[in-house]
C-alpha cells in the first residue's frame, strides 16, 4: 500500500520482521513465517465500523444470527486501535470526513479499508451535493469496494473473503497494484501517533497534529476558552443575534445592490435594443421608402413585421438572481 514513502503511515515494517529479513540465510524461514503471518492476519479480520447510515444497519445485520460473520473470525471492535479493517458503511459528509481520516490514522498497521455501499464508493445520489464526499477513496485508501445500496450482509462477507484472497495473493507476490487514487497523496493530515524506532519523524508534524486535534476538541480543557453557547467569550447572546441580523441585512443590501445593478444593466440593454431596433427599423424604413419610390407600397407591411421580430428577441432574465 506504499504510495511513495512520503506518508510514513504506509511504510511501517514490524521491527522483528525487519531484523529477520536482514539476517543472512533466513530467507526461506522468513517466507514461511510470512505465510504464517498472512494466514493469521487474513483469518482474524477485526472490523472497526465507520457506520454512518443505511449500510450501517446491514453491517450490524451481518454480525447477527442470519449471516454471522464471526464464523470467519471477524468481530467488531469499537476502538480504532484494535481494528484491522475499517468498514466505511454509509455516506461520509464534509463534516465527518476529517474524523474518518483521523480514525484511519489511529488504526495500527497492517490495516485495510472496505468501502461498503454506493455512498461510500462514489457518493451515489448525493455525489453532487455540497456536503457529501464523492467517494471515501478521496480520503483514505480503499482496498475493497462492496457495491450495493445497501449491500446485503452476505455481500459484505463476500467482500471480506475477497480481501482475504487479496492478502494471500499479495503474500505470494501475485497482486501488487494498489487501489489508490491520486487525491490521497494530497491529504495534508498525518497520523496522530508516535511510532517506535522512528527517528526521522518530523516533530513539527506532530505538533501540528496535536494542535489540530485540539481544535477538533479531542484534548485539553477547551471548554474554558471555547464558547458555551456558540458566541465568542465577551459577546452576550443578544448582541450575537444583533450581529447576525446586521449580517443578514448587509447580505440583503448587497443582494439589493446587485439587483439594482442588474436592473440598470437590463434597462440599458433594453434601451440599446430599442435604439438598435429603432435604427434598424428606420434604416429599413428608409430603404423601404427608397424602394417604395421605385416599387409598389405593399412592401412596407413586411418591414413592420421585421421590426416586431427584433423586439421579440430582447433577452429575458434567467428568473433568478445570480
Amino acid at each position: 500500500m506504499a504510495v511513495d514513502g512520503k506518508n510514513d503511515s504506509l511504510t511501517y515494517t514490524n521491527p522483528a520482521m525487519d531484523l529477520m529479513a536482514r539476517l543472512p540465510g533466513v530467507d526461506i524461514f522468513t517466507s514461511t513465517v510470512d505465510r504464517l503471518l498472512t494466514w493469521g492476519s487474513s483469518n482474524s479480520l477485526w472490523m472497526f465500523p465507520m457506520a454512518t447510515s443505511c449500510c450501517g444497519i446491514e453491517f450490524m445485520a451481518s454480525a447477527t444470527a442470519r449471516v454471522d460473520i464471526d464464523r470467519m473470525g471477524t468481530i467488531v471492535r469499537g476502538s480504532p486501535r484494535q481494528g484491522d479493517v475499517m468498514v466505511v458503511a454509509g455516506t461520509i459528509t464534509v463534516k465527518m470526513a476529517p474524523r474518518v481520516k483521523k480514525l484511519w490514522d489511529q488504526m495500527p498497521e497492517p490495516k485495510w479499508c472496505v468501502a461498503m455501499g454506493s455512498c461510500a464508493i462514489s457518493g451515489d445520489f448525493y455525489r453532487d451535493i455540497y456536503s457529501v464526499i464523492p467517494g471515501i477513496d478521496t480520503v483514505v485508501p480503499v482496498d475493497i469496494y462492496v457495491p450495493g445500496c445497501p449491500p446485503n450482509p452476505e455481500q459484505l462477507m463476500a467482500g471480506l473473503m475477497r480481501l482475504q484472497e487479496k492478502m494471500r495473493a499479495q503474500q505470494r507476490g501475485e497482486w501488487t497494484e494498489p487501489e489508490i487514487r491520486p487525491e490521497t497523496e494530497k491529504m495534508n493530515t498525518q497520523p496522530d501517533i508516535r511510532r517506535l524506532l522512528d527517528d526521522e519523524r518530523d516533530e513539527g508534524i506532530s505538533q501540528a497534529q496535536y494542535d489540530g486535534s485540539c481544535s477538533l476538541g479531542m484534548h485539553g480543557n477547551e471548554h474554558r476558552r471555547h464558547d458555551q453557547v456558540g458566541n465568542p467569550v465577551g459577546v452576550d447572546r443578544e448582541q450575537g443575534v444583533e450581529a447576525l441580523i446586521l449580517r443578514a441585512q448587509a447580505h440583503a443590501q448587497a443582494m439589493e445592490a446587485l439587483r439594482q445593478e442588474a436592473a440598470q444593466e437590463f434597462a440599458a440593454a433594453q434601451a440599446a435594443k430599442e435604439a438598435k431596433a429603432k435604427a434598424a427599423a428606420e434604416a429599413k424604413a428608409a430603404a423601404a421608402a427608397k424602394a417604395a419610390a421605385e416599387a409598389e407600397a405593399a412592401a412596407a407591411d413586411d418591414d413592420a413585421s421585421v421590426a416586431g421580430d427584433a423586439a421579440d428577441e430582447a433577452p429575458a432574465g434567467d428568473g433568478e438572481t445570480p
Binding site: 493469521g40 486501535r81 484491522d84 484534548h219
Partner: protein, 334 residues
C-alpha cells in the same frame, strides 16, 4: 526416572521451575482457548455458530488471532506515558500468573508450597487494580481514565466482601492452606452445604470475584457501549491482547479457587484427582459465561451500593455465624 522427578519436585527451586513452567503454559493455553470457548458459547446462546471456518470447528481461530496480534503495530500515543503504558499489560499478566502459583489442581500439585496460599492469592489479585489504573492513566485518554477510575473504585470496594467471604471456609477449616481447606471437606462435607453459611458465602465470593475480574454484570470499567474499551482503549496488538488474557486467566483462577473452597476441590464421589477439579472449575467457568451473556450491566453507583449496602454487611454476618458454628463444635479439623 521417577526418582529424578521426585528429587526435582522436592527441591524448592526445581519444583518452582518445573511446575511454574507447566503452570505458565497451562494458564496461557487456558486464557487463549477461553476466547474460542467464549465465542462458541456466546454464539450458541445467541442462535449463532461462532467461529467455524478457521481449522476444524474453528479451533485454530485462537492461533490466528494470536498471530494477528503479534503482527500488529504497537502504537504509543504521543501524549501517553510510555513506561507505564508498556508496563501495565505486562504487569497485569504477571500478577495474574503469580496468583495462580499457589493453586493446587490436585493433591500436592501446586508450584509454590506455602501454608498461606489463600493469603498469597488474595494479595496478588488485589494488586491487579494497579496495572488497570496505570493503563488508564498512562493512555492520556478520557475514556481510558474513566474506565480505570471505575476499575479502581470497584476493585477496592469488592476486595472487602471477597476477602470476608473467603474467610468463611478459612474459619471452617481453620487454615489458610488450600490443602487443609480441601482436606476439611473430605467425605462429601463440601463447605457449600455442610454448614448454614457456605452457600451464601459462595455466592458472595463468586459475585465479588466476578467484579474483580470485570465480568458482566460488573464490567463497568470496560463498558463497550459507554467507554468503548475502557482502560485498554488506546492499546494495540499484543499489548491489548494481554488485558483480555489476564482477565480470562483471572476468571479461571476465581473459578478454581471457588471450587477448592466450596466444592471440595479434587475430592469427589469415586476416585479423587485432577479430573474432579477440572470438572468443577470448568462448570463454574461456564456459569460465568452464562451470566455474562444473559445479563445487562449495572451503573457504577448501583454497583457500589450493591457492594456496601448488601455484600459487606452480609459477609460480616457470615463471618460471625461461621465463628459461632465452629465454636459450637460443628466445625472442621480445627
Amino acid at each position: 526416572m521417577t526418582d529424578i522427578m521426585d528429587q526435582l519436585l522436592n527441591h524448592p527451586l526445581g519444583r518452582g521451575v518445573l511446575l511454574g513452567g507447566v503452570l505458565v503454559g497451562l494458564m496461557m493455553g487456558v486464557g487463549a482457548f477461553s476466547t474460542y470457548l467464549e465465542r462458541k458459547f456466546a454464539g450458541r446462546i445467541q442462535n449463532r455458530l461462532g467461529p467455524t471456518i478457521v481449522g476444524p470447528f474453528g479451533l485454530f481461530q485462537v492461533i490466528a488471532d494470536g498471530i494477528k496480534m503479534l503482527r500488529k503495530e504497537i502504537i504509543i500515543p504521543r501524549a501517553a506515558d510510555p513506561v507505564l503504558f508498556l508496563l501495565a499489560p505486562i504487569v497485569a499478566v504477571t500478577l495474574t500468573l503469580a496468583s495462580a502459583a499457589v493453586i493446587p489442581f490436585a493433591e500436592g500439585m501446586e508450584p509454590v508450597v506455602t501454608s498461606v496460599g489463600l493469603l498469597w492469592l488474595l494479595a496478588f489479585s488485589g494488586l491487579l487494580v494497579f496495572p488497570v489504573w496505570w493503563a488508564g492513566w498512562a493512555s492520556n485518554n478520557k475514556y481510558a481514565l474513566f474506565g480505570s477510575m471505575r476499575a479502581v473504585a470497584q476493585g477496592v470496594s469488592y476486595e472487602i466482601p471477597l476477602v470476608m467471604a473467603a474467610l468463611v471456609p478459612v474459619i471452617l477449616a481453620g487454615s489458610l492452606d488450600f490443602g487443609a481447606i480441601v482436606a476439611a471437606q473430605k467425605g462429601g462435607a463440601w463447605f457449600i452445604w455442610s454448614n448454614p453459611v457456605g452457600a451464601i458465602a459462595f455466592i458472595i465470593f463468586f459475585l465479588a470475584s466476578l467484579a474483580e475480574a470485570n465480568r458482566i454484570p460488573f464490567d463497568i470499567p470496560e463498558a463497550e457501549s459507554e467507554l468503548i474499551a475502557g482502560p485498554s482503549v488506546e492499546y494495540t496488538g499484543i499489548l491489548w491482547g494481554m488485558f483480555p488474557l489476564a482477565e480470562y486467566i483471572h476468571t479461571f483462577i476465581a473459578s478454581a479457587v471457588a471450587s477448592l473452597m466450596f466444592f471440595g476441590g479434587w475430592l469427589g464421589p469415586g476416585p479423587d484427582g485432577l479430573h474432579w477439579m477440572a470438572l468443577k472449575t470448568g462448570a463454574l467457568y461456564l456459569a460465568v459465561y452464562w451470566l455474562r451473556w444473559s445479563l445487562v450491566r449495572f451503573r457504577s453507583d448501583q454497583l457500589m451500593r450493591f457492594c456496601w449496602h448488601w455484600l459487606v454487611p452480609i459477609s460480616l454476618a457470615l463471618i460471625v455465624i461461621a465463628t459461632l458454628w465452629v465454636h459450637a463444635g460443628f466445625g472442621g479439623s480445627a
